[in-house]
Amino acid sequence: MTCLPQKTDRKLGLVIDLDTCVGCQACVTNCKEWNTGGHMAPLTDVQPFGPGADGVWFNRVHTYEVATPDGDSRTLHFPRSCLHCEDAACVTVCPTGASYKRAADGIVLVNEDKCIGCKLCSWACPYGAREYDATEGVMKKCTLCVDRIYNENLDEEDRVPACVLTCPTGARHFGDLGDPDSAVSQLAVQRGGKDLLPEMGYRPTNKYLPQRAKADHQTGAGPLAPLDETAGATGVLAWVDRMLTRAG
């Protein structure tokens, strides 16, 4: 049923810290290895060892240079995956009901048995989060690791998305963004978490924490004052003498 739920009990999603992401691609390959054997298995790779290799991935990391107001620029690593939007047109456009948003947790999924592979949902996604598996003839996308986060066969602390579990810098956070008191909601508030392309009006669940103003400790420091008028080594050595004899 591709009408969106009025409201969802939870809004599970990710908070991604762009100030900490080093672009290591760990979340990318970990997502691939989990999901290629998971709920949407397989994530087919075409011509894997030839030219034009092209596979299905649910998470992709870009590198940008972003102009800063001071006329300078910063390098930005940007992981891109499904944002599990509240107004997910990728769901409403679907003619078959294959694309749907779960009422319980807000996860947007594709039911492969219903999907006819018309690709319209991927057109409706501003974020390029849906990737068509031509071999299987169906659309695939991030499942928010729905087969991990509730999985009783995994240790409690492992019941998080693969990309979150693996992120070496701890730039990825998972939780209920519907609950204002949840750690992720709090983090998003403190760090001014952003919606991507708000103009599109999809109301993404995932939030992105912008790069921080550069930590600047010089203020504390101030310029170094030379020891005394006696310049150079002589001055230094005289000072050392003073210090040590005082100590002794």
Partner: protein
Amino acid sequence: MHPAASVILFTTASGAGYGVLVLSPILLAFGILPADRWLGVALLAPALCLVTAGLLASTFHLGHPERAWRALSQWRSSWLSREGIMAIVTYGPAAAFGYAWIGLETASGGWAWTGIATATAAAATLFTTAMIYRSLKPIPAWATDWTIAGYLILGLLTGLIVITTVSSSFGFHPVRFQWLALALVVCAAIVKNAYWSRLAGTCRETEAMSGAAVGSDDGAITSIEWPHTEENYVLKEMGFRVARKHADRLRRATRNLLFVAPAIVFVVMPSLLPMPYLAWIAWPGAALVLVGVVLERWLFFAEARHVVTLYYGAS
């Protein structure tokens, strides 16, 4: 957007077909077309072939055509679903209308209703098709009512060309459609020009969103490295870009084929040429217009920029 042949074929063919289905009942009702059996066959048969061919074409690009029936289920939310339903629904009145025209050679009295129903259903189908594109926010070029207007008017225009051409070969003088042709050509020209003049603006607006794409207030971003060094699905499907110069050339061609050609062949000529010459030039004239509408549809996709391309930068 990648201009997929199947989709272009589908929308143009069924467009013309539904155009015929919208116009012929009306023209019949006003007596501009006679309820002549063989003319009915000559018009309704191709119309239904066109829409059916279109429908089939639209399933070619599906990953699972055998499941196409499922596409009828989501009429509550999905314009694609609604289109499918309308397309099928239209066969009903069309059949009844066809029976009246061809079987009974009448379109008056109670039978008039079948015509009205056919025209309405066909128009609605054209509308639902248009809405599929109209409703896609990530493709700002399409997210405008001009898209709807475009699909409707071009459906009617191509439909009328078919009617005119076919009926002329039955010896019906095209001059009787002259004013309608004039009206449709003028409207079509206005609509497409409006659509095109808005297009440039949408591209600029999209470009301006590049910062927002990564949640940065600091404005412009430059793509340094893609997540993959070769093209993936997203780029193949939505990364298509047509060179400005190339596009302009094609637009000129489209204008000539889609507006100028019919204006000459179906508006001006009928007052100058006698039959049967008109019938002879109608066919090539129609061909030009159909090529024109295919070009227009190719541009409709090729010139439409999907916002996802922001993530891949200029390159």
